[in-house]
């Protein structure tokens, strides 16, 4: 299994050329990072090339790396991660593409894998990542009229608004939330060599 993926890694290195930024094997899984230039052509190749045949798009998700390792992250903030599956070769592949910090925008793969439609809407809804060429980029999971991108690391866990029924007005009203965020278990990264650790919320 791992040998086959190692072969695939070699093969993709030659086939994708400049578009392939890097390809890493970790815990028996292959992750490739593609650049935005030539991304769609590379995806098409991944689907149609008989040696790749990644015909099933399993998942698309956004990632916000801003707090990664408590400030160790230096690359771009947003990424989109695609999980591909080849039914023919029984292999999986993870594809990552980074987006700009200010206006995160990546090409849409809806024309290559129809399954991407809702997954991309979800990444847009939760992270504010725009997908260029998506036919119907509406919010999908959040409420009608929701403001903000809830899964970004700077969005508070308790949210920004709360809803209650107002008897005077006879309708449901939205107000700024009064709930306070409470941390029961702090987030801790242990640095083993030094024997110390940094605690952060």
């Amino acid at each position: 299994m791992t040998d086959a993926l190692e072969n695939l890694r070699q093969y993709l290195g030659a086939a994708l050329g400049e578009t392939l930024r890097n390809a890493r094997m970790d815990r028996g899984e292959l992750t490739v990072e593609l650049s935005r230039e030539g991304f769609l052509a590379a995806c098409l190749r991944l689907r149609d090339d008989a040696d790749c045949a990644f015909d099933l798009l399993v998942d698309v998700c956004g990632v916000d790396y801003v707090d990664y390792g408590d400030g160790l992250w230096e690359g771009p903030r947003f990424a989109v991660v695609y999980h591909l599956l080849s039914l023919k070769h029984r292999q999986r592949l993870r594809v990552r593409i980074f987006a700009d910090d200010d206006l995160p925008i990546v090409p849409s793969v809806v024309d290559i894998w129809a399954a991407a439609n809702w997954f991309e809407r979800e990444a847009f809804d939760l992270y504010g990542i725009l997908f260029d060429g998506h036919p119907d980029l509406r919010r999908i999971l959040t409420d009608y009229g929701f403001v903000g991108y809830p899964f970004r690391k700077d969005f508070p866990l308790v949210g920004t608004v709360e809803m209650r029924y107002d008897a005077d007005q006879g309708r449901v009203v939205y107000e700024p939330t009064r709930t306070e965020e409470r941390v029961v278990v702090p987030r801790i990264i242990r640095e083993e060599e030094e024997g110390r650790y940094n605690a952060r919320n």
Binding site: T31, D70, L141, V183
Partner: protein, 417 residues
């Protein structure tokens, strides 16, 4: 004669056939669907965001509440992801227990699906029969974990505890007489495995009963044959997995193609459909119940013969045995650290998937070395299925919308997350 325009109809969010909270906006030309636009997210609880703020162990019970009719399969995917990040080995007995309970969960899920589907299409009695059998399996859940639905029984590194030596009995009550009590406790005299074995012997007859009611039923066939047809290429393109993909004629089942737990050692078949319509999806699921029953029987047999540990002895991941904690200082420290700070998981990213009853349920987890996941994405099988609703319903009648929606086995706990 006045000119009739297309009109828009709201289906749900409170509709008995919407399987929870789905708002489906239908554009109709007379009684024919022109466009179906599902509005989801009414049950959105941001489980993935919550997971980023909880330790690995605290996140586990949330998995039950995603797809709340196939609880342990969700936990299985989560545990596999954490185990892969940690690189811990799971004892063989724990793997067989997980296989056993995955299959019990599959039967539970398919029974609920079958009952609800028949009810949606108009056959009342199947629902009652299905719930009769679900009761026995829920009792098994309860016996092993203490909870009838949200078990929280799998843990990273194994399962919480070994199977009980005695199946719990019905207690005397003013509402049942002594004769009824003996009758109810008849197959509960031995261990839990005896009870499950008894169930596997009874179950094929029950499936025959459902099939008598439905498989050759004229009305059932009228409602399902040729409805919501998806071809194999299109099913792959739309990201279908599980019975939805297999009914379209693609033989893909993670239990066979990328085996996990103990599936590689077991003997079972993968039912595959031909036409990819609602009727085939029904047949595939019914055949899967029979196969699951076989797997359960094999697991029971193996578990009887092979005692052993059910959770890893790496105390950085799983708690030490309780007896040891009473005497050993180190064990007590491990226990305290695990339940206060939680386990530290090495940095990295993994994707782990299981063949849940509805399709491929996957967990993509990024860790930056902290005691909480940095990012967790739940890949719910129902999500791409429901996304295909528009395509599948187009050109069908309103009544078929219910049949198509139901055939996808939609549960909003996992779609909205």
């Amino acid at each position: 004669m006045p000119e009739i325009n297309n009109f828009t109809m709201n289906f749900g969010p409170q509709h008995p056939s919407a399987h929870g909270v789905l708002r489906l906006v239908l554009e109709l030309d007379g009684e024919v669907i022109e466009r179906a636009d599902p509005h989801i997210g009414l049950l959105h609880r941001a489980t993935e965001k919550l997971a980023e703020n909880k330790t690995y162990l605290q996140n586990l019970p949330y998995m039950d509440r995603l797809d709340y009719v196939s609880m342990l399969c969700n936990e299985h995917a989560y545990c596999l992801a954490v185990e892969k990040l940690l690189g811990v080995e799971v004892p063989v007995r724990a793997q067989y227990i997980r296989t056993l309970f995955d299959e019990i969960t599959r039967v539970l899920n398919h029974l609920l699906w079958l009952g609800a589907y028949a009810l949606d299409v108009g056959a009342m009695s199947v629902f009652l029969y299905c719930f009769r059998e679900r009761e026995d399996l829920m009792d098994v859940y309860e016996a092993v974990s203490g909870a009838r639905m949200h078990a929280a029984y799998y843990r990273p590194g194994g399962v919480y505890r070994d199977l009980p030596a005695q199946m719990p009995l019905y207690q005397p009550s003013p509402y049942r007489n002594a004769k009824r009590l003996t009758e109810l406790n008849g197959n509960r005299q031995g261990s839990m495995l005896d009870f499950i074995e008894d169930f596997t012997r009874r179950f094929p007859t029950y499936v025959d009963e459902y099939e008598t009611l439905l498989t050759d039923n004229r009305i059932w066939k009228q409602r399902t044959v040729g409805i919501g047809v998806v071809g194999p290429e299109r099913a792959i393109q739309l990201g279908f997995t599980g019975p939805m993909l297999r009914a379209s004629g693609v033989a893909w089942d993670l239990r066979r193609t990328q085996p996990y737990a103990a599936y590689a050692e077991l003997d079972f078949d993968i039912p595959v459909g031909k036409t990819g319509d609602c009727y085939d999806r029904y047949l595939v699921r019914v055949a899967e119940m029979r196969q699951s029953n076989q797997i359960i029987a094999q697991c029971v047999d193996w578990l009887r013969k092979n005692p052993g540990p059910v959770i890893t002895d790496d105390f950085k991941v799983a708690t030490p045995p309780r007896e040891e904690m009473k005497t050993s200082m180190e064990a007590l420290i491990h226990h305290f650290k695990l339940f206060s700070e939680g386990m530290a998981v090495p940095a990295g990213e993994v994707y782990a998937a299981v063949e849940a009853p509805k399709g491929e349920f996957g967990i993509y987890m990024i860790s930056d070395g902290a005691n909480k996941p940095y990012r967790m994405k739940i890949r719910a099988p129902g999500f791409p299925h429901l996304a295909a609703m528009d395509e599948m319903a187009r050109g069908h009648m309103i009544a078929d919308v219910v049949a198509i929606l139901s055939t996808m086995d939609i549960v909003f706990g996992e779609i909205d997350r």
